[in-house]
């Protein structure tokens, strides 16, 4: 594959690298302890010590943003991996078996699509109490029908290929074919979808945290930082702006990366660019 | 139309080398070869549709006008009116959302400024000319509602809409069933005769070319290796590649069994068609030809006239190398 990479792929990759890099860095180093409160230092302006200043409790904003990035990435990664795996499994199953099984799985997926994710998370929190685990479970759950659909659509195309017919002629069953031929050949669209869903998951995690249903204090999260800053909007607008900016950068980065990956893996688009 | 010494090069590959072809009004020329031999590139040269990455040199003249480096704007004036083309895949060449009648009427209204009703009448006449059954009903149908053969007829009608002097048909029957293909070939021949329209028929199928044309070129690796009257070339092929192609095609003589009970085998050309960026030096066919001798690997053979308009580019036939064995069929 030669030629220039699409611009959205490059910008997306840079933004994603930035966010992931910062999140990884927070594991070993932050400028300050993100949870250390020094009331004396509250509402410090940005300076050499507190790069972006401090909040209403005197906590360092940069440190909080970095740890929040890590939390956000972890939630999104776990949720997309769990939801994606289950969704891909259902998609493969639907495609392999066809008939009423396929109809059933896809109709259930349709219902899942119709179900508002936030409502589902609020419901879960009401039952089990708010926690990060519940947020992950809710986001994972809404990912299942998305991946089931993408997987089934791509897999149905691969099932029409001659090499699948050849594998059937060889004597392989539907499950062996799904494992040996279908899965490797639908990896590209599924990975693209995963990247885009990653962005959606970051947004969902921020929304849940904003509502107080995600990460619990003192664990920082962009969404909760945003909601805490809301009441101080006129006194200290920067408290709202920085986490908001982080969400935008992360979501934009993964969306652009997903788009870019789609552009280079979709042969139809490739031909159009040529 | 006259091409002389036309070459098309892409980065690191020669797609067509010094091809000279002249097409008189009403002539029917077949271009035969396997995939990647340059036959489609020759067709695209005739249409001025060589991809932008291709370097075209030589001379392409249409009714005396030099067009080799003419800009797209100039070519567009000639396409449809002087040269038209039909393709292998009739479904891909038709807009699926448009009634086939509208597809044919469009160029008439744009190029010739006809009113809708006149254009419709012309389209109807064209549909009749290309032998579409119940042409009035066909005008209103969509591509998916008619058969592959009928789609190809619609495309022929479209190509004929502006009365071109030359029709280039690139593998027009390959995607069609055998007996449908036959009728399309017969239609092309009939149209060429009734309209005094030149026809360039590009195909890998020797039987189709034999039926459609009276002159033919055989191409290999971007070179024209043999040319002449179709019947003559097919009856007495002189270039080893042409001989190989003819032998490889199953016919009556390959049928049945040898005395020891084994089935008769076909004549084969060993190896595969080399990619254009990896052609052998010297004769393009060296390495696959069974009758090679000293000059073949080094030197590019020049065309040798063989009488009756037939010529072939092979060292075996060149007077310079007389005595180095003989080609089969030359006796």
């Amino acid at each position: 594959m030669s030629g220039r990479l699409p611009v959205n792929l490059i910008i997306g990759a840079v933004l994603v690298a930035l966010v992931v890099g910062v999140a990884a860095l927070s594991l070993i180093w932050t400028p300050h302890d993100h949870a250390a409160m020094t009331i004396r230092n509250r509402f410090q302006p940005a300076d050499g010590v507190y790069w972006l200043g401090t909040d209403q409790l005197g906590r360092d904003i940069v440190s909080q943003l970095m740890v929040a990035a890590r939390n956000s990435m972890t939630v999104a990664l776990v949720a997309v991996l769990i939801g994606g795996s289950i969704g891909v499994m259902f998609g493969l199953l639907a495609s392999a078996l066809g008939g009423w099984v396929e109809d059933l799985i896809m109709r259930v997926a349709d219902i899942g699509f119709a179900f508002p994710a936030l409502l589902f998370a609020i419901m879960l929190s009401a039952v089990f109490g708010p926690s990060l685990t519940i947020a992950v479970a809710a986001i994972a759950f809404i990912n299942i029908p998305v991946f089931a659909r993408v997987t089934r659509a791509s897999a149905n195309q691969i099932w029409m290929r001659d090499y699948v017919a050849a594998a059937r002629a060889a004597g392989h069953g539907r499950f062996a074919i799904s494992r040996d031929h279908i899965l490797p050949n639908i990896a590209a669209p599924v990975i693209v979808q995963g990247t885009i869903e990653f962005a959606v998951a970051i947004l969902a995690e921020a929304a849940l945290s904003y509502l107080g249903l995600g990460a619990q204090p003192p664990s920082p999260s962009w969404g909760r930082m945003l909601s805490e800053a809301q009441t101080l909007m006129f006194m200290a607008p920067h408290l709202a702006i920085y986490p908001g900016l982080c969400i935008v950068i992360a979501v934009l980065g993964f969306s652009l990366l997903g788009d870019g990956l789609r552009d280079i893996t979709d042969p139809r688009l490739k031909r159009r660019r040529a | 139309m006259e091409l002389s010494q036309v070459s098309v090069g892409f980065a690191g590959a020669v797609a067509l080398r010094k091809a000279s072809v002249s097409i008189a009004p009403g002539a029917r020329l077949g271009i035969v070869g396997e995939s990647g031999c340059g036959k489609s590139m020759l067709g695209l040269c005739l249409m001025g549709m060589v991809p932008d990455a291709g370097q075209v040199t030589g001379s392409i003249r249409l009714n005396g006008q030099e067009l080799v480096r003419a800009p797209e704007r100039v070519w567009r004036r000639h396409r449809a009116r002087d040269v038209a083309m039909i393709f292998q895949e009739p479904m891909a060449a038709l807009n699926p959302l448009k009634r086939v009648g509208d597809t044919v009427m469009e160029p008439l209204m744009i190029h010739e400024g006809l009113s809708r009703s006149t254009a419709r009448a012309r389209a109807l006449a064209l549909f009749e000319e290309v032998g579409l059954p119940d042409p009035a009903a066909r005008l209103r149908q969509y591509p998916h509602e008619i058969s592959g053969g009928q789609r190809q007829r619609v495309l022929i009608a479209l190509a004929l809409a502006c009365n071109p002097g030359l029709l280039v048909a690139d593998e027009p029957t390959t995607a069609l069933d055998a007996n449908v293909a036959l009728r399309i070939i017969d239609l092309l021949v009939r149209l060429s005769e009734s309209r005094n329209m030149a026809l360039v028929f590009i195909s890998h199928d020797l039987a189709a070319v034999s039926r459609a044309t009276d002159q033919m070129l055989v191409m290999y690796g971007g070179d024209i290796v043999e040319r002449g009257p179709t019947a003559q070339v097919l009856a007495e092929p002189r270039h080893p590649y042409t001989q190989g192609l003819l032998g490889a095609r199953p016919g009556l003589e390959n049928r049945g069994r040898t005395p020891d009970g084994r089935r008769k085998r076909l004549v084969t050309i060993p190896g595969t068609v080399p990619p254009l960026h990896d052609l052998p030096q010297g004769c393009r066919f060296s390495g696959r030809c069974g009758q090679e001798f000293a000059p073949c690997a080094r030197q590019r053979p020049q065309p040798t006239a063989l009488g009756q308009g037939q010529e072939a580019a092979c060292h075996l036939l060149s007077p310079l190398h007389a005595g180095h064995g003989t080609c089969r069929g030359a006796a």
């Binding site: 090499y163 002629a169 | 055998a178 007996n179 190989g244 085998r265 595969t272």
Partner: protein, 260 residues
């Protein structure tokens, strides 16, 4: 007299088409209509017809990819549609298929050796490395080619690989669906010769499906002509070519250049 290798008795296959109107029953397309044939071990039968004639559907039924709506497909005396999943899997060792498109019939992400060994793994056969190498030699390729990927080969070589995969279990029947149609003429002849070699060496029975009567005639003992799902003419190759009873057969002869 033992049972013939393959026997089709009055096989039909219908497909329901999408509804054209809400209250009318959906139209039915009869892809294969009451076709019977018999093939003995080591024999070659050609099936000729244009696209839509039902020849590929017939192949799919012979391969037990789908079941006939009527009639029965019997292989070595056993009704294929009545076999259990495990028995059918085992039976597949004995009949294999070569597809039309040499670019589509090999998984682009798998090494050639892996693809060739697939029927061995699927049917639980052993000694696969040696069998793969032998199959590669039989189709004129080298042992080292097993480590390569399909995109490293030309169309003709890929078709050789597909044939190697089909013969690796030493089947009794090979179904070739338009196996040479996508190839250049010179390569087509090589593959036809290869199929003749294998057929004679291994005593393979072969069903050779093509739209091209000339190709079928050079490799088959008998020919069955299909049109619109029906078998319209069948007979020994020589007799059928010398004196076709049906006008349609004659037009196929003309189209393939045998007759002018």
């Amino acid at each position: 007299m033992s049972a013939p290798l393959l026997q089709l008795d009055g096989v039909s296959r219908r497909y329901r088409m999408p509804r054209t109107a809400l209250l009318r029953p959906p139209p039915v397309l009869t892809a294969v209509d009451d076709v019977s044939l018999t093939l003995n071990a080591g024999q070659t039968l050609g099936i000729v017809g244009e696209s839509g004639s039902g020849k590929s559907t017939l192949a799919r039924m012979i391969m037990a990819f789908e079941a006939p709506d009527e009639g029965a497909v019997r292989f070595q005396g056993a009704g294929l549609n009545r076999l259990s999943g495990a028995d059918l899997r085992l039976a597949r060792r004995r009949f294999q298929m070569v597809f039309q498109d040499p670019f589509g019939s090999l998984d682009p992400r798998r090494r050639v050796g892996w693809s060739i060994a697939e029927p061995l793994r699927a049917t639980g056969a052993e000694d696969s490395a040696a069998r793969v190498t032998q199959a590669l030699y039989q189709v004129g390729l080298r042992a080292g080619d097993a480590q390569k990927y399909p995109h490293e080969f030309s169309g003709g070589q890929r078709q050789r690989i597909a044939i190697a995969r089909a013969i690796v279990t030493r089947p009794a029947l090979l179904v070739a669906d338009e196996a040479v149609s996508a190839l250049d003429v010179s390569v087509q002849a090589q593959i036809l010769n290869l199929l003749m070699d294998l057929q004679e060496e291994m005593g393979l029975a072969m069903i050779f499906i093509s739209h091209d009567l000339a190709v079928v005639a050079c490799i088959c003992d008998r020919i069955l002509v299909m049109r619109n799902g029906k078998s319209i003419e069948t007979g020994d190759t020589g007799a059928l070519i010398a004196a076709p009873r049906h006008d349609y057969t004659r037009s196929l002869l003309v189209a393939s250049g045998i007759e002018t």
